[in-house]
Amino acid sequence: MSEVLTSIKKKSNGEVITKLSPKEYKGKVDPDWCPGCGDFGLLNGVRKACAELGIPPHKILITSGIGCSSNFPGYFNAYGMHTLHGRPVPVATGVKLANHELTVIAVGGDGDGYGIGGNHFLHTARRNVNINYFVMNNQIYGLTTGQISPTSNFGTKTKSTPFGSIELPINPITTAIMAGATFVARAYTGDSKHMVEIIKQAILHNGFSHVDVFSPCVTYNKVNTHNFFKQRTVHLEDVDHDPTDWKAACEKAMVWDDEIYIGLFWQNKERKTLEDLDPVLDEGGPMAFRSLGLSKDKTQKLIHKMM
């Protein structure tokens, strides 16, 4: 195991401060993403957020699906599971239930999460499992060299839509809100400082946190480029948005024009998580490491709870 503590300082009052560096989260493999790919932004952003929150690598598990962006866990020093196309969220849920003391993050692309994995996205949001789902949205299939994605705009020409797409894109933000996610945000990898704050808030939120991250594909998407987003993105914090107002959140999420909003659209701090509601997880540490069987007292309490 790598040494996780960058520096240990002692304050004059004897309090020990441990400070983590984003470098602690650097994986053993270097990314094979194209130079300029937005995914570098999220990778650095999550490293920075974890460092600033002081969560050491061995308390983090990152799952991913398949796609360029899903190679993420290999580049990150934490437990990692590079799963199947569209399936990082169910696997993350399983991990969280077996060991709820871990910070669990699922990552993937727009095709992975909103296309093939769309069903899991909806139902995990509804369940409100306390995991974080960061989707690197480039509005294109990059790994398979440029086909239409669920977030590609109407009219987009790709290898699989040579005459332009005749389908409307999904709106990840309104979809997440309607499905019951309790933390719904959008970030842009080219706006790092803002993105890191969003990621930190997402990780700290107790519930299903979904962040749709604009992560431009410099190779196959010549429309939704860094330039495109730099000119259009507006911070929700600057327009007096109230993240407890779901109607306003949906209205702002629908705007795709000269202005595109990024920031925290919606947060519900009241709703309990799946783990909060599961009577088995209320005490005794990670379920997977407990000995099977319960004391008579606990069994009685449990039966009482379930009746």
């Binding site: 061995h58 398949i66 437990y79 590079h82 077996a98 871990l102 490491f289």
Partner: protein
């Protein structure tokens, strides 16, 4: 009075299972119901996924984090499990999966027994890497083989199937208590893992990675042909070099018999009935019940062939296991199938008719 669903669920719980995720499907839903009702009482977690794909995904996640996991489905659900079973093989995640077979293809006859998924279980994933398949013929065996499946899954870090069927899972029968309590005289499965033991995510554990891509020992993607070849050979060999240990059959051989009946699962019960009848009529006949369908217990099957001129194989499909036996025996042995794919169980009378030709 107990049904196969309860016996399988109890076997899982007694084997230390503390996590179950599944999706309702006839005729496997009884197992889901039992597990979800019983797991919280022992401090485990069970829940219903939004579909089969997520359910097995939940199991893989929980297993990687240290839980002992179990799931059950039927043929259509196995189709949806298939890609994730490949992932579990690749990541070497211990999984126990009960398949309550019903008549296919597609939705088929959802409320009728069949044994049509014997090849499907074995070959359900890309690459054709080996899995272990155990087939109980009755309720006590459902309990004991389920417990055994968990030992095998842990030892080999591989998916292990329990191949059962609608009639075994959904029929409530009275069962002798001692058959449920006392394990059959089967050889023990060693507890030490073959290869690296599972290292769940611990609070102070060593960082490690899993990936469904070809990878190094540390779990990082590799394109090195030598490493990939070594890894793939190991996945194959870890099962195939332990065939003797995994092989489990019941050979009921009679001196001087020239007919051997081979069967498995629910069809083996008709075989047992017919053997009793035939012997009471003074006929000499041998019988072999195969519990470990995959990997094929080749030696154990071949051990039963002395003096045999004809083999009768009753199974509720078009001869899926008969074709496997065909390649193990001399050409001068005649192979005869008794096959049904019409929702009706194979009766002892049908086997008798075939016996008398």
């Amino acid at each position: 009075m107990v049904d196969g669903a309860a016996a399988i669920a109890r076997g899982a719980l007694d084997a230390g299972c503390n996590f179950y995720a599944g999706y309702p499907i006839t005729p496997a839903s009884g197992i889901l119901a039992h597990m979800l009702r019983e797991l919280p009482k022992v401090g485990g977690i069970g829940f219903q996924g939004e579909d089969e794909i997520s359910s097995i995904g939940h199991c893989i996640g929980a297993a990687s984090a240290g839980a002992t996991v179990f799931t059950a489905t039927s043929g259509p659900g196995l189709s949806l499990y298939s890609e994730n079973i490949g992932l579990a093989i690749m990541m070497e995640i211990p999984l126990v999966i009960a398949i309550s077979q019903r008549l296919g293809p597609s939705t088929g006859a959802a409320t009728a027994s069949a044994q049509g998924d014997i090849q499907f279980m074995r070959w359900c994933t890309s690459g054709g890497y080996p899995v272990i398949v155990l087939a109980p013929t009755n309720i006590p065996e459902s309990y004991h083989l389920t417990k055994r499946a968990f030992k095998l899954a842990k030892r080999f870090r591989n998916p292990v199937f329990i191949a059962t069927d609608k009639d075994t899972v959904m029929t409530t029968e009275s069962v002798p208590v001692d058959e449920m309590i006392n394990a059959p005289d089967w050889p023990e499965i060693p507890t030490e893992p073959v290869g690296k033991p599972l290292d769940p995510y611990q609070i102070n554990g060593t960082i490690h990675h899993y990936t469904g891509s070809s990878h190094t020992e540390e779990g990082y993607i590799t394109k090195d042909p030598d490493i990939i070849a070594q890894f793939n050979e190991r996945l194959k060999n870890k099962i195939e070099s332990h065939i003797d240990e995994i092989s489990l059959v019941k050979a009921d051989l009679q001196e001087g018999a020239d007919t051997l009946i081979i069967s498995y699962g629910v069809s083996a019960r008709s075989m047992e009935a017919v053997v009793i009848q035939l012997r009471s009529q003074g006929e000499k006949v041998s019988a072999l019940t195969v519990y470990s369908l995959w990997p094929i217990p080749e030696k154990k099957i071949q051990d039963c062939l002395r003096g045999i001129k004809r083999i009768i194989i009753p199974e509720m499909n078009h001869g899926q296991y008969r074709h496997e036996i065909e390649r193990l025996v001399n050409r001068d042995i005649e192979l005869i199938g008794v096959n049904r794919v019409d929702t009706i169980l194979i009766t002892p009378e049908e086997i008798m008719e075939t016996y008398h030709g």
